[in-house]
Amino acid sequence: MDPDRKRKIRLVVALSVAVLLATALVWTSFNASTEAKSPSELLAATPAGAVDAYGKVVTEETLPDGSREFVIADPEDTSQTVPVEYEGQVPDPFREGRDVIVTGLMVDGTLVAEKDSLITKCPSKFSDEAEDDPNIVIDESL
């Protein structure tokens, strides 16, 4: 076969495969993705499927069976809160006041989280947030 023609066929095949793969990638990513919602968005409209809820931990409590209950507040409006039932590994930085992301389903106004889905954000080295964190600012009054 003419080498130029052979090269063109190869190029068309390679491009077709690339387009197919890219389509599969985009299709599966939208199907597999989880919407990220703040507590106020969760309260405004209960999502049908799993969501990534993000917010600031307001209170936390461990239940006798070892599972955990905590409440997350909207970063924009702390009066908007959602209780979370969680079971599984709790990251070291988790505590009241920390920003978390947790995946789960809304059931009767409570987010029932998937096991081990809790992500707690470390205070950033590069933001002012760490410096403004009241828990790590030295209390100079005493």
């Binding site: 070892g66 070291d92 080295k125 590069f126």
Partner: protein, 744 residues
């Protein structure tokens, strides 16, 4: 003038030196005037010296706890251990940018010194690019708010905030400079590629001069990634080493594209092909390095790191856009000069396999890029912010990683141009047979068949390792036949004489071991979460864990309370090891309350009993939200307040007021100590239940062993050969001769 003022002056002078270097090199390049180019190079040396002085001044400020410097006050304290005082510099915005600029100036000085007698057309433009980057980063420190490492505080605080306890780990002390050195060193081949494009000198000379810098960048980046994964495994208390978090992905993307670049430049060197591909790859690698720096400062993505919007995010984004747009325009304008000298003659050739592996590596990088930025893409398309979790990444990355391992095995067995069927059969026969035996053995004697992905990975890895072993054996045998030195000595000689080739093979061995380890530890992990009291036992996999007794102690230097446990690990009834996992609570403030210990940072010290086959891993978390303990803490704090705080607080501004406040603080500290001692006793009496996470991770240690082998291989490949040294010396003589003849 204080040393801090002198340091700031050095920073300004470094900015000026870079600006002079850029102007002089462009002038010298446009007018073919060597003197200006030499002067620009000396400007870069000056910037390197000045930035070294900046680093020395700041390190001295950290060591003497000079809290008049905001950087020191925000990231160190008088109780911070010396090692972490010294490494706290890069734990901050300004310090990390200074580290970028400093490493850049030193690497630039190194490459410009090494090429001072070579590549006269390319060097001026490469110098201009490097100086441009120097201007950007020193300018960022001087002009972007909050990025000046020499910012002062007034009034000067009596104590600093200290380093986040999570970062007080040797791996985290070295991890940032390793990553940054990797990112920065990719700027050297990038600058020379741009220089070659501007000067239209697109032969392999720019590659030969900067290949080692690319390799060193890859080594540093590998070490940085391995240290980060190791820190996550032993320090974060979740038992994993990789979570597809944007901050992890940010370092993996330039590593993957950089790996592709290091392979494809070999094809250009040997066959004169892939010229457009190579300049494109190094531009993308460098842009991804900048992207890694940008991601942790932009606040555009949700991550385990609470990325904050900072003042340097936008300028970095502009730089990335400039790098991509500028290099794309330059490459398009030079397409005529970038024509391949040859074409792939056969798919059964080394260059064809390199190309396939390149496509796989770029594919991996693209998938990770897409997954990382998916929240922004989804928001742009649907208006809703969505995220992709680890299973999505695993679904796409696993098959491509398996193929990478397969082609890593095929590549070294093939010759350049093409291979005959007979030779292919001779070379491929033994590794294929070995892989088949491994496959059958795995199916027959293990439960690997339950995880098809892992089974295919192990089989391909067996093929690739056997092929690489065959290469070492063939080389040593041929050497031995020539010299009769014995097999071991011959192996050493053949590696030393062909460092690039056998160093590369060693890298492949390390990477394959790491991939096998990742497949095994992620597919066959046994894990359990158990709530226990002293005396309880549980079984995970073949292991039995017994919680023998709790331990509690307090470190006054670090203001830390530790609740620990002594656990016995048994296998088949035999004691394997006694472990002491613990949880540290760092006091959040000096308010003298018991609660302050549980409102601050908490870190885990995991218990591990590891071997080559598997790693037993456990972390513990006492349940302090138990009502009895909650009550105790609340009551203790109320009583401390009642006993120490008078109805009217003394005014610390009045004479005697400060003394009275100190008295109150001392009394609170004393009561707090008594309450903490009581809490320690309650814990040691077994009144507080403990949640244990227990993991049994097969082969996990091989991630770091394989990584270390890969790094050693990289160093072997980067080490100059005797012939390269001779060539360099003869270059110097040639340059001197030309200069003398010119004078005559």
């Amino acid at each position: 003038m204080s040393s801090i003022d002198a340091g700031f002056a050095c920073l300004i002078a470094a900015f000026v030196a870079f600006a002079y270097g850029a102007a002089a090199s462009i002038w010298g390049g446009r007018n073919a005037d060597r003197r200006w180019v030499d002067s620009a190079r000396r400007g870069v040396y000056a910037a390197a010296i000045l930035l070294t002085l900046c680093v020395v001044v700041l390190e001295a400020a950290f060591l003497r706890s000079d809290f008049s410097v905001a950087l020191v006050a925000d990231h160190s304290s008088t109780t911070t251990p010396t090692l972490y005082k010294m490494t706290a510099l890069w734990g901050s915005q300004g310090g990390s940018i200074l580290l970028w600029a400093w490493v850049l100036s030193i690497a630039s000085s190194g490459v410009l010194f090494a090429t001072r007698h070579k590549h006269r057309e390319v060097v001026p433009w490469a110098t201009a690019v490097l100086c441009g980057l120097g201007i950007f980063f020193t300018g960022l420190m001087l002009l972007a708010g909050g990025a000046n490492p020499f910012d002062r505080l007034s009034p000067v605080p009596a104590e600093g905030l200290g380093l986040n306890p999570l970062l007080r780990h040797p791996a985290m002390a070295i991890h940032p400079p390793m990553l940054y050195s990797g990112y920065v060193l990719f700027s050297i081949p990038f600058a020379f590629a741009i220089g070659a494009l501007v000067a239209r000198r697109l032969d392999t000379s720019w590659i030969r001069s900067t290949r080692r810098f690319g390799l060193l960048a890859w080594i540093f980046l590998s070490v940085g990634i391995l240290l980060g994964a190791g820190w996550s495994y032993v320090e974060l208390g979740w038992g994993g080493y990789w979570g597809w978090d944007p901050v992890e992905n940010a370092s993996l993307m330039p590593w993957l594209v950089g790996t592709a670049f290091l392979h494809s430049i070999m094809v250009q060197e040997r066959r004169g092909m892939l010229k457009v591909w190579n300049v494109s790859l190094i531009c993308v690698t460098f842009a991804l390095s900048l992207l890694g720096t940008f991601l942790v400062r932009s606040g555009i993505l949700q991550s385990i790191h609470a990325f904050g919007e900072s003042t340097v995010g936008t300028p970095l984004l502009v730089l990335i856009a400039l790098v991509l747009a500028g290099s794309t325009a330059l490459i398009i304008s030079r397409l005529g000069d970038l024509r391949a000298e040859r074409r792939v003659e056969s798919m059964a050739s080394r260059e064809a396999v390199f190309l396939v592996n390149n496509v796989l590596l770029i594919g991996l990088a693209f998938i990770i890029f897409y997954g990382t930025f998916f929240p922004l893409i989804a928001e742009a398309v649907t208006g809703e912010r969505s995220t992709l979790a680890a299973p999505w990444f695993d679904r796409y990355v696993t098959p491509l990683a398996i193929l990478v391992v397969l082609f890593t095995g095929i590549g070294p067995l093939l010759a350049w141009r093409q291979i005959s069927a007979g030779r292919a059969l001779r070379l491929f026969g033994p590794p294929v047979a070995f892989a088949a035996v491994v496959l059958v053995a795995l199916i027959a004697f293990t439960d690997s068949a339950s995880e098809p992905g892992a089974l295919i990975m192990f089989t391909f890895a067996a093929f690739a390792l056997a092929g690489l072993l065959g290469e070492f054996v063939r080389g040593a045998t041929a050497q031995n036949a020539l010299t009769g030195d014995g097999w071991a000595l011959s192996l050493g000689r053949v590696v030393v004489r062909n460092r690039r080739r056998y160093g590369g093979y060693t890298v492949h061995v390390g990477i394959i071991l790491a991939f096998v380890s990742i497949a095994a530890s992620s597919s066959f992990q046994n894990t359990d979460d158990v709530r226990m009291l002293p005396g309880d036992s549980t079984t995970v996999g073949d292991y039995e864990l017994t919680y023998v007794r709790p331990e509690a102690y307090r470190d006054f230097d670090e203001d830390r309370l530790t609740f620990g446990s002594v656990v016995e690990v048994r296998r088949d009834g035999e004691l394997v090891e006694t472990l002491t996992p613990s949880r540290n609570y760092y006091s959040s403030s000096s308010t003298g309350t018991v609660r302050s210990f549980f409102e601050g940072e908490a870190t885990s010290e995991v218990g591990r009993s590891g071997g080559a086959a598997e790693d037993f891993w456990t972390a513990m978390r006492p349940d302090l939200t138990e009502p009895a303990i909650e009550n105790f803490i609340a009551t203790a704090d109320r009583r401390i307040d009642e006993a120490t705080i008078p109805e009217v607080l003394p005014d610390p501004e009045t004479p005697g007021g400060a003394e009275a406040m100190r008295g109150i603080a001392e009394a609170r500290s004393e009561f707090q100590g008594l309450a903490i001692t009581n809490l320690e006793e309650r814990f040691e009496n077994g009144e507080i239940p403990v949640d244990f996470r227990i993991n049994v991770n097969p082969l996990v240690i091989w991630i770091w062993v394989g990584g270390a082998i890969g790094v050693i291989g990289g160093l072997i490949a980067a080490w100059p050969t005797a012939s390269a040294k001779r060539r360099r010396v003869s270059d110097v003589y040639a340059a001197r001769l030309a200069k003398d003849l010119g004078r005559a």
